[in-house]
């Protein structure tokens, strides 16, 4: 039965269902226990599963990530929360140097079935450290999987898959979509990690996006349809592994690609997508791959946020340039 559900609630369901299914699943982080998380993702879990499986940690992200390493080695399946994207950086050393490398370091004898959830990106008028786009750091680190749902159902499906996954998964949650409702039946069935999905069909240009930008892309596609331009929206969902097959098919079928992300332009996902597109389908390109991204500046103050983030207008303009190239 389809129900109207927010992404926050869908994630909460995913954690609850995973904990019920597997007693090794542990949930911890700053304010996730008694408070239930600042975005309410862990609400009620401590009451239901007890303080041993759902607990608050000190404000020490390197410690949270380090705890993940030890717990995973001991056979647990830790699901840690970094309260905000900007707070995940103190934990980078543990993530890059240990969580990402442990399987390789031990010649596959010790896996790291760790999930690190990170409320990410902007759009909520946050303060400094509360609107970061951290994906490139993780995508660039071999040994990690990186996923980014765009809506409630996908958040449920991807989080269940991430917890099931034997390898570490960085789970990036678009903050600005926590309270967006989706009418969906929450199920693990459907495309898993490593698969991109076409969120809207179209034959003239492919807009590649993930997270909250999928919805900006959909708005842009709607506006472009009124001009007779068929923009396809490809929701990547999984940044690592990247679904090259679907990406290449979209390029072959539309010949034009616009990549949209909140992260700054330089060495953002757009750079990687552009390179892959050339490697996979160069002869099918009718126009250069275009990027609509955040600017190469620190994340701006709340009052300037909407000028900084890719807007529907910037996306439609890029698609128009690609189509008329």
């Amino acid at each position: 039965m389809a129900e109207s559900v927010t992404m926050s609630a869908a994630l909460n369901h995913a954690l609850r269902d995973a904990m019920e299914a597997d007693p090794r699943v542990l949930v911890f982080g700053e304010d996730v226990g008694r408070l239930g998380g600042v975005f309410r993702v862990t609400v009620g879990l401590q009451e239901e599963f007890g303080e041993a499986r759902v607990f608050d940690t000190p404000i020490a992200e390197a410690g949270i990530a380090g705890m993940c390493v030890g717990l995973a080695m001991a056979g647990w399946k830790p699901v840690a929360e970094m309260q905000f994207d900007g707070f995940s950086y103190p934990a980078l050393d543990q993530v890059i140097s240990h969580i990402a490398k442990y399987r390789n370091r031990t010649k596959a004898r010790v896996a790291m079935p760790v999930v690190i959830r990170i409320p990410s990106w902007g759009g909520i008028k946050g303060k400094e450290h509360h609107g970061e786009a951290p994906e490139t750091y993780y995508v660039h680190t071999a040994g990690l999987k990186v996923v980014a749902p765009s809506g409630a159902l996908d958040a449920y499906r991807l989080l269940r898959a991430a917890i099931e996954d034997p390898d570490p998964v960085i789970f990036l949650e678009p903050k600005s979509r926590y309270w967006a409702k989706e009418s969906a039946e929450l199920t693990v069935e459907g495309p898993g990690i490593g698969r991109a999905v076409v969120a809207r069909p179209g034959d003239d240009c492919t807009i590649v996006a993930y997270g909250a930008m999928v919805h900006r892309a959909l708005e842009a596609a709607e506006a472009l349809a009124a001009e007779g331009v068929g923009a396809r929206v490809l929701d990547l969902r999984s940044l690592v592994p990247l679904d090259e097959e679907t990406l290449a098919a979209c390029v072959r079928e539309t010949g034009r690609v616009v990549v949209v992300h909140e992260a700054a332009r330089t060495l953002g996902m757009g750079a990687e997508i552009a390179a892959r597109v050339m490697e996979l389908a160069f002869d099918h390109l009718e126009a250069p791959v275009m990027r609509v991204t955040g600017y190469d500046t620190p994340y701006p103050p709340a009052s300037l946020e909407e000028l900084w983030l890719p807007s529907v207008e910037r996306i439609t303009e890029a698609v128009r340039r690609a189509v008329s190239y």
Partner: protein, 380 residues
């Protein structure tokens, strides 16, 4: 060793060309890196250009006094190993500083590459598929970019080039001729006084061609070497004479074969030629009708040609082109007389035939054509 092309670098100040005052090196010279190689004069100054490579001068692309556009090929070097400069250019010379990026977008592209043409990858791929040279297409897109439509137009009816697909007949002709051209062959010419021939064929009510074919067949009986094929390890002498008659059709040249001209009379040969020519023009020849010629005749006179150098047909050692019969000034009994005459152009496979062998046979053939009464005894 590798060949690298050095183009006239941007000499600065927006100049578009330079004049070669003098070369300081010659083709074949070994040069050192930074050795002065050429003096170039622009509208503003004379500049000595140092060599960007160490190596040998393979080619100088322009002579002294010539004007060379910036970006045009100047010198081809032969350098050791792979491409590229063997050392960085000296930094104190503005000319040589720009040497290595002189193939940039401002210079004309003389290497046959189309990288200076603005076109999207998909358009390039389309051009490649359609066999369109991008540099010959006028780009109508933004900034002169070549668009998909431009390439399609270029493939269809371009501005000054129409592309006609090669028909199967044309393709077969091309293949046969290319194969034939590889055979060492020579052409020799004989003039025939056609006074008697014209009277003879008018009496029989035929064109000159059947009479000529009949005479050729009779001649070959005495000179079997001409009715042969090169078989690599043997010369193949054909016991029967099968005359291929080159026939012009709408689809191109085809060569139907008279099966047994040796057993036929002149009228019969004429009828056979007419039948084969009709079938050739109607496109109803069977593949068998075009196979197995042992000697080829081409009636080039039928379209006015007087003499030529026909190519051999596959499997034939001799091809004879029959030129137009027209009044010519011939020397008869020591006096110049206007008489109907024609030229036979005879190409033969020099691998198995020598000029003397062919010459003797042609002497007999010409003598027979000039006295065709001897052909009256042929079977009717």
């Amino acid at each position: 060793m590798a060949l690298v092309e050095f183009r006239l670098p941007d000499l600065g100040e927006g100049l578009e060309e330079g004049e070669i005052v003098r070369w300081l090196v010659a083709e074949g010279d070994e040069v050192e890196l930074n050795q002065p190689i050429v003096e170039v004069e622009t509208a503003k100054a004379a500049v000595e250009i140092p060599s960007p490579y160490a190596g040998r001068i393979a080619r100088l692309h322009a002579g002294a006094g010539a004007s060379v556009a910036v970006g045009a090929a100047l010198i081809t070097f032969e350098v050791a190993g792979g491409r590229g400069p063997v050392a960085p250019a000296p930094s104190n010379d503005s000319a040589s500083l720009r040497v290595f990026d002189s193939a940039g977008p401002t210079g004309p592209d003389t290497s046959g590459s189309t990288s200076s043409v603005a076109a999207a990858p998909a358009v390039r791929a389309l051009a490649k598929r359609l066999g369109v040279d991008l540099s010959s297409v006028v780009g109508t897109g933004p900034d002169g970019r070549v668009t998909r439509a431009d390439v399609e137009r270029g493939a269809g009816s371009g501005d000054d080039l129409e592309r006609v697909p090669v028909s199967p007949t044309r393709g077969a002709i091309a293949r046969n001729l290319a194969a034939a051209a590889a055979v060492p062959q020579v052409t020799t010419f004989r003039t025939v006084d056609c006074t008697a021939l014209e009277g003879f064929r008018e009496e029989l009510g035929v064109s000159p061609l059947p009479v000529f074919v009949a005479a050729l067949v009779v001649t070959l009986a005495d000179h079997p070497a001409l009715n042969s094929s090169w078989g690599d390890d043997a010369i193949l002498l054909h016991r029967r004479v099968r005359v291929g008659v080159a026939t012009d059709t709408e689809r191109g040249l085809v060569v139907p074969v008279l099966r047994d001209a040796g057993a036929s009379g002149i009228a019969d040969i004429g009828a056979q030629i007419a039948r084969l020519a009709d079938a050739a023009r109607a496109g109803t020849l069977s593949p068998g009708d075009m196979k197995g010629a042992t000697i080829t005749v081409s009636n080039t006179g039928s379209y006015g040609s007087e003499a030529g150098t026909p190519l051999l047909s596959p499997g034939c050692a001799v091809t004879v082109a029959l030129g137009a019969i027209r009044p010519r000034a011939l020397v008869v009994d020591g006096r110049v007389e206007a008489r109907p005459a024609c030229t036979l152009s005879v190409t033969f496979d020099h691998r198995l035939l020598d000029g003397a062998t062919v010459g003797r046979a042609l002497t007999d053939l010409v003598s027979l054509l000039e006295d065709p009464d001897r052909l009256r005894d042929l079977p009717r």
